[in-house]
Amino acid sequence: MKRKRFQKVLCFILSVTTLLGFGGVTAGASSDEISYKDYYDPDAPYSASTKEEMQALVGTLSYAEYLDGLYEQRLQYIEDRKTQNFETISYDVLHPVDGTYEIVSGSKDCQDSMSADPDAWVSFNKEENQDKSVYLPAEGSTTWQVTLSAEQAGFYYIKIEYYSVKFDDDISAIERKLKLDNDKTPFKEVSSIKFDRDWAYTYGDFDTVVEEVPGVADSYSVNYELRDTEGQQGYYKIVTEIKGGIKTVKTYRIMQDINGNSMSPQSEPEAKWSTYYVKDSSGYYDGSLEFYFGEGTRSLTLEAIRGSMIVKSIELVPVTGLTTSVVDNQIVINQKSLPSYADTIAQYKANNLYKAPVFDPTANKQQSIRIEAEFPDFVSDSSVAATNDNTSAINYPISHNSQLYNVIGENSYSAVGQWAAYKFQVNETGLYNLGMRFKQDALQGMYICRTIKIHGGHKEGATVRYGQPDGTPEVPFAEAYQAEFNYDKKWQSSFVSMDNTNFLFYFEKGVEYTIYFECSLGTLKEYIQRVEASLEKINSCYLRILQLTGTDPDEYLDYNFISVMPDVLKTLLLEAKELMAVKEGLEALCGTNGSHIATLETIAILLDTMGEDDGMNIAANMATLKSYLGTLGTWINSSKAASMMVDSIWVVPAVQSGDEVVSQGSYLPKAKAGFFKSIWFEILSFISSFFVNYDQMGLTTIPDENTLNIDVWLATGRDQSQIWRTMIDANSKEGFTYNTGTAVSLKLVTGGTLLPSILSRKGPDVYIGLGAADVINYAIREAVLSVGGKAAKEHLDANGNPIFDTTYYSYRDAAGNVVTTPEHRAGEDPVFVSQTFDNHVAGNFAPAAMDTVTLLGSAYGVPQTMSFAMMFYRMDVLANLGLRVPETWQELLTILPVLQTNNMSIGVSYIDALDFMIYQSGQSMWKYTDPEKYDPMYAGARINLDNETVLETFDFTCRLYTDFSFPVAYDASNRFRTGEMPIIIGGYSGIYNTLTVYATEIEGLWEFCSLPGMEREDGTFNYDSLANVSASVILYGCGEDNPEELIASWQFLQWQTGAEAQADYGNRMVALIGPSAKYETANLHAIDKLSWTAKENKAIKNQMAHLSSIVNYPGSYIINRYTQFAFLDAVNESADPIDALSSYIEAINSEIARKREEFKDAGLWVPQSPDDEPPQLGS
């Protein structure tokens, strides 16, 4: 006993000094039937785009070019419309001529049952004989046909009535590719059309209180308050409506954790019918897009990119509002489908609606309606969410010691097409302005735009109705496409306006309106589009010059550009003018010249210099041009991001001033906090920053002393940790604590903390995200517990059952407590099932991933993330060169000369290549690893680098860099962006995430697919990539005193790495951080539920079918070191790769032997002499 205490004390001291010195119900249930092989087909076809597909992409016109090409037809159509009546043409939706679809019943009567349980609805309606619709799954394409007569030939909008559904946790956006006539995309804007989907927030679970108040006049009021009473703490929105003597009180709440921090409300996609006119989702064209349909049979194809949907009708609606005018002796066609604001006002005047609301001063009703922006009723996608901002002391609500959600916006609400919608009513009928308190400090010297859409007045039969009866909102007048919000570093408060005209809207009392604020490019779109077109042209000039001169042109050599490529010089000069014109246009528009606009001038000056003097300055300025191309791309990105923060929206009554109606500025909220108020707030915030307990972030209840509690550590970012916290605490079938009764204290730690904590016995029970190499390092030193294999059988529960080999069922009893027992109770539904490791949990992961956490036949962790290298390619560049995506290394080397003569190259990270090439050659890094030939104790006792095939492969890999001049060091994303490196190979999620945020100007021009393959002897190919795994582990000491704790930790591990939680986590990450936060889950069953497009999903699964891994046997750290030394010797000193590598083999083997000697007691075999060979099994 005494000795034990001494050991503990000693351990503690040692750990301190070393620290100082070195500075779903069920987790596994879904996997029962499907094995890795069934799911990931190694023989699936290569997923890369074909040459034809890539060329089609490059040849596609833009919408403007498409319309220009149809100039004659449009003039004819305008003439025809004068004499002839065009009618709407319908496709026979229920009878597609081709493709994947399913006919279901989809009448409106079924809406309710459908939103309650979509799965049940589909099966139910397949039998019922009701109005039919067609269900389009998330994969495949469907084609319809219609025949037009000669008279019907003309211009049409495409109108689609669809139902956005929620099937199988498929929360991704609905995206389709539209093809017309012979499978051709008419113009590139419709190569991806996005169908809106409403996401509704659920704020707490409150009942609506209905009360009879006879005789009280109708009124509507909204109030906001913070409550801190125990059990009710939160931020409330209370809407009180009195109508016809009935008082309805609706309460919404943003919940708070025990420290008063706001917690994200849940949002779910609404299932409902909507009407969609095919429009441009890139934001360059307002309104619906026109399509020309000539005489004959016309086909229409919807090809799935992501998301499933139900379609009820597809109609061609004749285009209206086309007029002609003459400009510079040319007939110009104008499109005007919406009335202007002036028209709208004129109409109000004509209908006697042009009047301000009149309030009875004694009635005491809310005159202006305040809508706190953090309470949106609907949003376009779950990433549009409320957030906290403490930059102004008068943001409401605000607290100096906690983070309260008080604004919406910033980066998560800035992409074109994202919107937030708010419901409101007014107390008197008349004209209103919309006011807003906001902060737009993103685009210096420029304004950003929002499109205002309104819906309402259909149910109530109001005089002025907004939007479609089915709930689709509409833009009330043309100017509402571009409400402007000016730049200011500070908070502002102003009316929604354009060109200083404050928009007036006619609202009637007792009518519920929904107002949408959608991010748009507004008046800037023309300029951004021009810059984008310019960038494209300059980039192609850059690539052309590059093809002649290479990346480092000789300043003193006369390349004679003027005669070789006069057109390039001309383009450079033209684009210089164009950029200057854009710059001037923007300045005129914004009235200022901020640094953001000035960037264009700098670039224009450079282009001008390069284009002049017969191109004599081109060579000297190539490097600058390259960096400016990047700058221009970034300029476009930031201009497109219409980012601002909104604190509150105000519906402010206008006032009558004679015959005119004027806006009432005094009703607007205060924009900035007073000086002393701000200072005082800052001081309080500073002081309280010392007392915030970040460990408790998101905790809603202080854990009861008596409940089982496990410690979980993770070393990620705060966002990630908060997401796990929320998921653990969720009071639903997905939550952990709710279903197992085990409380979790989750701690965010820094990376190096785990090691010393283990020694001092202050460590956690579970650690999330331990690298595979460390799992083995810890395992062999007995610091983590085995969860599978024979070593795991030693962990017994109170009844003597091996914990990891027993199925435990958790049942909720009548009192709501959860009981976990190994007995299966017939007739009762368990809330959580803890599976056995070997038979169930392991099946969730690729065998390659499991190998990396396995030592001597026992598994020591459950994989959490898994990354691997894949190949990214630029479709436009390859198509322009007439190349296809190389499927094998041989093919890659055949296209290499084509790329190199054009001064392009291929980027392969040598650190990755040195390893995966060995596995592609069918060999392993280690000797004696084949479990069928050798006992696990021999695995990894020697390095396999002296194998002949391995040496040859190593030689081949080195020659890629020496003989074939692959660059060794390069900035992959930058070169990929400029097109200099049209093919790069590297970790898939990392590159994907970088390109998504960083290179938006090449969005849609690149894809990724499996690695090129290496030919086997039998003529087939090996496409293997290497899995890089991090795992969740149970630490030594867990369950020592109480086996229950170990069972709980094991349950946690299963829950956390299970398909449900992993998919949920990945989707929440994307929702929180944006599309660049793709999560590389290791769980095979979670991949389908993450928001990859169908094609990306296929590519990832394709590579997942071809995975190997390097197991970290003792001494593994030495291998990469020496292979890289040998590689660099070959590259730097032109050493023979085989000789260089061979010279290190002895050093590697002796280090491995030395390291294994250390763990001899653990059962590792150590070769005693160079000839010492382990015995083979069965011999």
Partner: protein, 315 residues
């Protein structure tokens, strides 16, 4: 009564034992000890104890996770007899220290001397310029851009432009360049605290001493420097020397950041790297402690040598 008379008489040092005398002295100066205590406590816990512990650990096979076993001098035996890389590391460290230590020391001294001659306002600015590299954290990473292995790296781009090379040089991944580059970077960052203390030293020298020396027959500025300036600022020189030694022996993180770990072919592998290699990647704290002890001994002895050398200044 007799006792009283005895205490009244001052106690002589020879009358009591050494221990008792010390205790008496400590009691008399208890305020001083009391004020020293917080620092001493922290110093002992965080500096002395780890040093002592690492000497103890160097005789075990501690691996950070399990209880250590006693190994005697096995670690030292292996270190000197069976570890080629360690011998290489010692070699690298000595080369590195022999160049960067004296050069950076002399450089700091000379620069400080020159700067001292400048008018005060300009001096303040120039001091900042020279001192900036060592205070601005990871500023040495500019060298990574400068000597990037990418063909777009500055050095490579310039060399390719003038046709000196055709393929980019992998500067920090090429065994031929690693050590010289690291030495250059080390010198660049070396004008640190020592340099400041030299400037301070120059400032404290009493001007009248120069006048007196001039009367006594000093012939030139060099003599002035050698006979008056340097001897007067010996404490600063010592301080600077200690810093130069520790810096040149402990120069590790910068190499890691620039060349990666380990540097190619162990070309810039110093004792510090060897230490973190075993302490980190291999979980062999016992062995790493042995390396640390050796490093400690080397630093300590070079300190003594420097002290001896410095006492010769001005003679």
């Amino acid at each position: 009564m007799s006792q009283k008379t005895e205490t009244n008489r001052p106690v002589k040092r020879s009358e009591v034992s050494k221990l008792r005398w010390t205790w008496q002295e400590m009691k008399n100066n208890k305020t001083a000890y009391f004020m020293l205590a917080p620092f001493m406590l922290l110093f002992i816990i965080f500096t002395v104890l780890p040093v002592v512990l690492s000497i103890f650990l160097s005789l075990t096979d501690f691996n950070m996770l399990q209880m250590p076993d006693w190994r005697g001098i096995d670690n030292y035996m292996r270190l000197f007899l069976d570890d080629e890389i360690f011998i290489l590391a010692i070699q690298n460290t000595l080369v590195f220290a022999a160049i960067t230590g004296p050069v950076s020391y002399i450089l700091a001294l000379l620069v400080a001397w020159f700067i001292n001659e400048l008018p005060p306002k300009i001096r303040a600015v120039v001091t900042l310029v020279f001192y900036a590299p060592s205070i601005s954290g990871n500023a040495y990473l500019v060298w990574k851009t400068l000597f990037s292995s990418d063909s777009y790296g500055w050095a490579n781009a310039v060399l390719i432009k003038y046709g000196i090379i055709t393929e980019p040089i992998l500067w920090f991944q090429d065994a031929d360049f690693v050590m010289p580059l690291c030495i250059v970077v080390a010198l660049w960052t070396s004008l640190g605290t020592a340099f400041l203390s030299f400037i301070a030293g120059f400032q404290t020298i009493d001007r009248s001493m120069y006048e007196a020396a001039a009367v006594d027959g000093i012939k030139n500025r060099w003599q002035e420097l050698w006979y008056i300036t340097l001897p007067t600022m010996r404490p600063q020189l010592m301080f600077g020397a200690v810093l130069a030694i520790t810096n040149s022996f402990g120069f590790g993180a910068v190499v890691d950041a620039l060349c990666g770990f380990p540097s190619v072919d162990y070309a810039a592998h110093t004792i510090m790297h060897h230490l973190s290699d075993y302490g980190g990647a291999r979980y062999e704290i016992g062995y790493a402690s042995a390396i640390a002890v050796i490093l400690f001994v080397i630093m300590f002895s070079s300190n003594i040598i420097i002290k001896k050398l410095l006492s010769k200044v001005g003679e």
